[in-house]
Symmetry: C2
Subunit: 270 residues, 2 copies
DNA sequence: GAGTGGTCTAGACCACTGT
DNA sequence: CAGTGGTCTAGACCACTCC
């Protein structure tokens, strides 16, 4: 039997095809027909046409703004993150001279953007550890933690590249008062250098990767359609002493991010 | 000003809260009130109530089946995949005696299920390489490829644990005719043993990780709500000779999958 | 066939973005 | 203010599941 496609799906597919084909009026940046117009053209009731547009928005093809209109989105460039190389490189950076550290950032490596084209926004606070945090760090529930929220952006565009929530045990971070001062961000040389100022060397970083739909707030900040997917990256840094010294929860825009890991294998003896 | 929540959002939040609190009638497996009933109770029009239910479905809290009803979903167990350990272990398995290979599978490692509780479904075909495949393997467009589709399931439950599309150069795979025969699946000892029968040793595996919304077909096969997120894993196997010998595209249910990678760092000399 | 979700309509009114 | 998407209604009819 025919698979039975709803009317809104058919309309959405037709528009998607026009976009893919580059039909005039359906190129990136172009304004799509108003919902009311399509209703007047007999493409369906307002509910039906809206459903079609919503589907296209969820698929990342168009962006809808209330009061403004519906436009075809620019194809978004992929951001490829190779964490194995990145973490190794970042650790080495911490040992370089001040001059070098000041002119290099980790964010650049992902995006290909110049160091001075990236704005860092940081908000610091102190909070008691909830059950989850306490377990991660192996401390008692209620232990005071340093909570640092970051997001990075380019100057012309206020959409965030990622949303970062970073945690450390407050008493540990406080060994260097500069670490408690958000105006010191972006820190030249990154996390590894910060750690070195309080006598900590990071031995291993564990990444946990999950996905879910973006919340409305996340979608707005990251500039992605509401209801699209995000990648959740849980990054745990373990010191040479075997302690968890830092934990970051990173939200990445799913549609324009790819993570890469490489697993080398031991050769069979012949 | 008040953030202004739509009526459907309020209704969804209220039900979500009941589910979180374990209110009688809102426990896993319980049937939720019919849409028509809520309409009769004045919770809104059918469109409004349906929007609330749809939101809960997208969030993974309930499952809706046309003609049957809406139930609170069982919290789904997490599947944690540690590919570094997994790939290393799988390579070693290929060298073990037949007896051992026959009683171990890779799928078990992810799920904790017993070897004989997993059913493998395999479909093989031969297709010409499109541009993307040709580039990956470094062959000409149109080169004949072996395309193997797999999915695994437990006997009592027909939902797939993952959907796998695997590719090899057909002429290479054909060196061992058994590799072209889908009835030989599941192959005792996995991919590495298969490769060893045609004189190939895998030296390195590269994982690429992305995410997007599930298609309707994927959602149905994986038993996840329509419109929820999936993880896309692109797995490329490189031989000791430096050739790409196998490429798999794996679709994983986002809400019940976590990938883990660990990055060891060189110690600073002191 | 009874029951349940899914689609669709026609139209009213609200909320936000621009000028 | 005009213009555009977002929410909501009341009700009709369709498609699927289960008995």
């Amino acid at each position: 039997m025919a698979p039975k496609t709803p009317q809104w799906r058919g309309l959405a597919d037709q528009i998607a095809q026009d976009i893919a084909a580059g039909t005039p009026g359906y190129r990136p940046g172009d304004q799509l027909p108003q919902i009311r117009d399509l209703v007047a053209q007999g493409k369906g009731s307002k509910t039906t046409v809206l459903a079609a547009y919503k589907a296209l928005e969820a698929e990342g093809l168009v962006s809808m703004v209330r009061g403004h209109g519906t436009k075809v989105r620019q194809p978004t460039p992929h951001q490829i993150r190779r964490h194995q190389e990145r973490y190794v490189w970042e650790k080495k950076l911490a040992l370089r001279p001040d001059e070098v550290r000041r002119n290099n950032g980790v964010v650049d490596k992902d995006t290909g953007l110049k160091h001075d084209q990236i704005e860092t926004h940081a908000t610091f606070s102190a909070i008691p550890a909830d059950g989850g945090l306490a377990e991660r760090f192996g401390v008692d529930t209620g232990t005071l933690m340093l909570h640092r929220q970051y997001w990075h952006s380019t100057p012309e565009d206020s959409t965030a590249l990622s949303l970062i929530d970073s945690y450390m045990v407050h008493a540990v971070a406080a060994r260097n008062p500069d670490l408690l001062d958000s105006s010191k961000e972006p820190w030249p040389g990154g996390t590894h250098h910060q750690m070195s100022t309080i006598g900590i060397e990071i031995d291993r970083i564990d990444d946990g990767i999950r996905t879910r739909l973006a919340t409305q707030a996340e979608a707005r900040k990251l500039g992605i359609p509401a209801g699209s997917a995000v990648i959740l990256l849980d990054k745990t840094s373990v010191s040479t002493g075997g302690d968890v010294v830092e934990y970051s929860h990173v939200v990445l825009p799913g549609e324009r991010t790819e993570l890469r890991y490489s697993v080398p294998l031991e050769r069979w003896t012949r």
